[in-house]
Structure formats: C-alpha cells, structure tokens
C-alpha cells in the first residue's frame, strides 16, 4: 500500500470515530463551551480547560479528548471576538488581534473583522491539522526507536525550553518546573511501593489529583485575581449585522498572503515546547509589519494585522498536538492536560499510542476538522449572542463558576478531599501569580515528573549507574546539548535585559 492510501484509510477510520453521535455531541459541546469561555474576559484557555476537566471523567477516552480539545481551540476563536470589540483580549493569544482589530471596530468595520478572523482561524487550523496528519506517523516511526536514555534527555529539553520561554526570569521558570515534578512524585513509588510525601493521607497514595492541581492553579487563582478588575469592565457595543460582515474585494486581496504566512509561522511555533499560539501570533504580526509596503497602516485597522496572527495562533493550537500525541511529550500546560485525560483513562501516551489506539488517534484529528467547521457555523451567525454575553457582570459569573468547580471536583471521586486540594493549589497559584512565578511549567512538570523519573531510573539500570550514558549516546547527547544551549542563551538574554533595566532605574534616581 502506498502512503496516500494509508492516509486515506486513516482518514476514513478517523471520520468514522469522530462522526459517532456521542463524539460529535461532545465535540460540539466542547467548541461551544470553549468559545463561551474565550468570549468571557477573565477566563483563559487554561482556566476553561481545568474548570471543565472533571466533566470528562464521566466520558469515554475518545469523547473526553475530543471535548477537551474542542474547549482548547474554541477559546482561541472566542478570544478574538473580545479583542476586536472591546480591545480586551479574551485569551493572551488574541492580544495581537486587538492592535488592528479594535481600530477596525471603531471605524465601523467590526463585522468584517469578526468574519475575516473566523475565516483566518479556520484556514490556519486546517493547515495545522494537515501538517499533523502528515508528520505524526513519521515522528512516531522515529520515536519508536528511542530508549529510556533518549526519552529522559528529550523530556529535559522540552522542560528547559518551556521553563525559559514562559517566564521573565529563567530561574523562576526552572523553579516552577522542579516544583511541578516534585508534586508529580507524591504518592507510592512504582518500583518499591514506598510512600513519598503522602504524610499518611490515604487518598494521596495514587498521587495528587490533576483536576485539583489544574483547577486550583489556573481556575481559582485567576478568579481571585479578576474579581476586582472584572468589575471595572464596561461593555458598550453596537449591533453587528450579517450584512456588515461582508468583506470588500480589497480586504480579500490583502488577506490572502498574510493568512498563509501566518499559518506557516504558527505551525512551526506550535510544535515547540512552551511557546504556543501567543508567541506565534506576535511573531507573525511582526513579520507582516516588516514586509508590508505600507507599514504605517498597521495599528490603524490594517486587515493584514488581524489575519496573520489569527491564522497563526490557530495553526499553532493544532500543531501543538504533534509532540503531545506522537511523542507523549506535551509542550504546554494545555497539552499536559490532554495527556492527563489519556492517563486517567488508563492509556499510556507516547509513540505506541498511534499503533495501539488508531481509532482514538485519528478520531481526535478528524474531530479537529469537524470542530473547526462547527466553530465556523457557531461563530458567524451567533456573533450577536456572544456580543451580548460580554455584558454578563463578573460578580454574578464567578460564584456560578465556583459552584461548578466544587461540584465538578466532588463528582470525580465523591469525596471532599479534592476540594481541599483545590483550595491549597488555589492559594499556591495566587501566591505564584503575585511573586511572578509562571504556572504552566508547574503543570508540565507535574505530568512529566513521574515519566522523567521512570526513564532516568531505567537508563541508570541499563548503564549500571553510569551517568555518562546520557552524553555518550549520540541522540541523547544532542538533546542535552540543545538544552544547555537554550539555557545559556536565555540566561544571557535575561542578564542583558535586567542590567539594562537596572541602569535605566539607576539613571532615573540619579537624575532626581
């Protein structure tokens, strides 16, 4: 069989799975809830995913993944709506869209901006999905050759990149990773059965619940931080009619290339650990402005300035699944949550997943198409509804969210102990926020922690306790060298940045 017919077979298998009524329903529910969460400022992608995470416990693994993925890419669609209409990005990855989207809305072109970003999102996501379909099997083929030594080094690379990308200070990013790994080690040791950091609490023997950790870190801390700021929000929005959405011929002509360039940039950044849609959208905006013949139009409602970042962040959302599903190594906290769903349902993530669970793997990919199509259908006619939803006062919204947090957490094990852990992690998350420690690396470390320890121990067993095995094996050595390079570069850049800051600050006080 040639590659094309294999791919066609996989597409058929995936469509068969994704179109099952149950999966279709949860895909629709996921993208709907995702858009809703994206529209509401103060609930980001991670908060939405962790708040709705407990619902997926009651579903089968495929439906659970499909729904959580729908929430994930749905928020990116919804986030751009508030960027354009309110100059208030619903999600960080939509913040660039506000630069030109809001001026468009101010000059009465909100409809065009909303319509075109939806199109850009769909095209970007579609290109990302196609790349995933082509590259995942190839990457799985390579990854199946990896042993524990290679896996350990690859995970180190992923964690180092994620840590240094997500924080102002690489020291704080790395600290967050280590804290996350340590949380991940709580429970019974898989080799010896020894209790580690359980303090005699029986419910900790299986480890800390990922639901409680994610919900507390991302959901609760975000609510605490937004209560006061959410109140000052004033929404005054004109009505957006279907007619006002039609782009002019000039709009379409200007959009074509930024759309494709954005998708390319986004697809690349999506596969890197710790970067994701936010950085992808910033970079593609910068590229468009740089190569434009009329850079002065940017910031004043240039349609290129919304097309490129929106296509970029949606492409990145999809290609982020490549390392997650093909290698079992998530690059971002959202992807770590997707792996969490797999593990909760007893499936081990990694390159063997594609061979063992082809229906799940291809079903998930095909559900992306369906989900993005549904988003197109949900978004364009329902923009009016989303606009009205923006006016929901936060002071009624957050108690409602808290009720669902409690019941969702309670419903996982019919036990209140996890609610106490939500409180603990909520407090930790709020503290981390105040001290500007990044939280996504904590979740990333938490999910990868047990795996990284297992691979390290196995590698040590094979090499008879010889640590040099990590640098004498060529593939592993390459990963570690790259990690060291990333680490040195980020430390150097950070030092330059902070000393420049300090000089400026010193100069400021000297002048007074």
């Amino acid at each position: 069989m040639d590659a094309a017919s294999v791919l066609l077979g996989n597409i058929a298998l995936g469509l068969g799975t994704a179109l099952q009524p149950e999966n279709l329903f949860y895909c629709a529910l996921g993208v709907f809830l995702g858009t809703l969460a994206g529209v509401i400022p103060g609930i980001g992608t991670l908060a939405a995913m962790s708040l709705l995470f407990p619902l997926t416990f009651h579903l089968g693994p495929t439906a659970a993944l499909v729904m959580l993925a729908g929430i994930y890419y749905g928020t990116t669609y919804g986030g751009s709506t508030t960027s354009i209409l309110l100059n208030l990005p619903g999600t960080p990855s939509a913040s660039v869209t506000a630069i030109d989207g809001y001026p468009m809305a101010q000059t009465g072109r909100a409809g065009v901006a909303l319509f075109m970003t939806t199109v850009a999102s769909f095209v970007g996501a579609s290109i990302g999905i196609m790349l995933m379909m082509i590259f995942s099997p190839a990457i799985v083929g390579i990854a199946l050759q990896f042993g524990s030594t290679e896996y350990f080094s690859l995970m180190v690379l992923g964690l180092v990149v994620a840590a240094t990308m997500s924080a102002d200070s690489p020291l704080k990013g790395l600290s967050a990773i280590v804290v996350g790994i340590l949380f991940g080690l709580v429970g019974l040791d898989i080799y010896t059965g020894a209790e580690r950091f359980t303090f005699g609490v029986p419910s900790l023997f299986d480890g800390i619940s990922i639901v409680a950790l994610a919900m507390g870190l991302f959901g609760i801390s975000e609510i605490i931080g937004s209560i006061r700021s959410g109140e000052s929000r004033v929404a005054a929005i004109e009505k957006v009619s279907m007619r006002s959405m039609l782009p002019s011929r000039d709009d379409v002509r200007r959009s074509r290339w930024p759309l494709l360039r954005g998708a390319g940039v986004g697809s690349f950044f999506g596969t890197l650990p710790g970067t994701g849609g936010t950085i992808a959208s910033f970079v593609s905006y910068a590229i468009e402005k740089r190569i434009s013949r009329e850079p002065e139009r940017f910031g004043k409602g240039a349609i290129e300035g919304i097309m490129a970042p929106e296509s970029s962040n949606n492409a990145a959302d999809q290609t982020a699944f490549i390392p997650t599903m093909a290698l079992g190594i998530p690059g971002t906290a959202s992807m770590a949550m997707m792996l969490g769903v797999l593990m909760i349902h007893g499936l081990s993530p990694g390159p063997s997943l594609l061979g063992n669970q082809p229906a799940l793997f291809w079903g998930l990919i095909m559900s992306f198409w369906i989900g993005n199509l549904l988003l197109l259908l949900i978004n364009i006619p329902m923009i009016g509804l989303w606009v009205r939803l923006l006016n929901t006062p936060y002071n009624y919204l957050y108690p409602a969210i808290l009720v669902f947090v409690c019941l969702g957490t309670y419903s996982v094990a019919n036990n209140t102990i996890d609610i106490w852990f939500v409180i603990l992690f909520g407090a930790i998350g709020y503290g981390a926020r105040l001290l500007s420690y990044p939280m996504p690396p904590i979740l990333l470390g938490f999910v990868l922690g047990p795996l990284i320890e297992e691979h390290f121990r196995r590698a040590m067993l094979y090499s008879r306790g010889d640590l040099t095995t990590f640098v004498t094996q060529p593939i592993s050595a390459t990963f570690l060298a790259l990690s060291a390079l990333v680490l040195m570069l980020s430390v150097a850049m950070w030092l330059i940045r902070t000393t420049r800051h300090a000089e400026k600050a010193d100069g400021g006080t000297a002048g007074q």
Partner: protein, 149 residues
C-alpha cells in the same frame, strides 16, 4: 539607592526552604539506594537540592532589579477560598441546598457590587442547574438536604 526585587527575594526564600525541606525529608526518611538501583528517595533528594540552589540564585539576583511583588488582595482571596472550604465542610453533612447557597453568599462578599434580589435568583438558578446536571445527568450520589453534623 539600590533597588530590591521583592518578588525574587520572597520567592527565592520560599524555594530554598521548600527545596531543603524536600531534600532533608527524602534523604532521611526514604531509601536513597545506589545510582544503578535508585531508591525512592534519590530523585526527590536531588530535585530538592536543585530547587534550593535555584532559590539561592533567585535571591542573589534579586538586588538591583526594579520589579516588586504584587499586592495581595486578601478580601477576594479569603472570600473565594473560604467559600470553597465551607462548601467542602457542609456538602456531606447538610446537602446541596445548604452548601451551594453558602458558597455563593460567602464568595460574593468579595465583590463590591452586591444586591440581594439578583443574588437570590442566582442562587436558586445554580441549585436547579446543579441538581439537573450533576444529580440527574451524572447520577452524583449527593443529597439535596440532610442533617448529619
């Protein structure tokens, strides 16, 4: 005058204490084993030392930076975390129809805009939705009302 980044100072100090605590606990309470046959304590002990080192470096680099730690908002934090705690304490003893209203009322204390009628409507709606989704939909074994202090 030299500036100090209080977020790095406090954060670094917390990491030093946490890292040292983990390393000491793992080193004394758990078997370290050898590199070839690692015990359950070795990996956490090394990570604890790493965390403490990162904390030391964070503290050392805190000087000469302009950043400051965020100002904690105790009101919202207390109302949200306290509301969750009261829910956890009451759900198994008194049932949904006590736990949900208490959570809504306590967490609403954080908001500056409080009005009685919308709050009552919200509470009633949430009780109904919770019953519909979790009791009917997911068969969650939780009583609406009970008395078991």
């Amino acid at each position: 005058m030299r500036q100090v980044d209080s977020s790095s100072l406090i954060g670094g100090a917390i990491m030093i204490v946490a890292g040292a605590g983990v390393a000491i606990h793992a080193g004394t309470q758990l078997n370290l084993g050898t590199l070839q046959r690692m015990g359950p304590g070795l990996f956490p002990a090394v990570l604890g030392l790493m965390l403490a080192t990162l904390g030391l470096l964070t503290v050392a680099t805190a000087f000469g930076q302009a950043r400051r730690a965020g100002r904690p908002e105790y009101g919202p934090a207390l109302a949200v975390l306290g509301g969750l705690g009261v829910f956890a304490l009451t759900i198994d003893r008194f049932g949904l129809l006590v736990a949900i209203p208490l959570l809504v009322i306590i967490s609403s204390l954080a908001s500056r805009r409080r009005r009685l009628v919308p709050l009552v409507v919200l509470t009633a709606g949430l009780c109904l939705a919770a019953w519909g989704i979790f009791v009917l939909g997911f068969n969650l074994p939780v009583r609406l009302l009970k008395w078991d202090p």
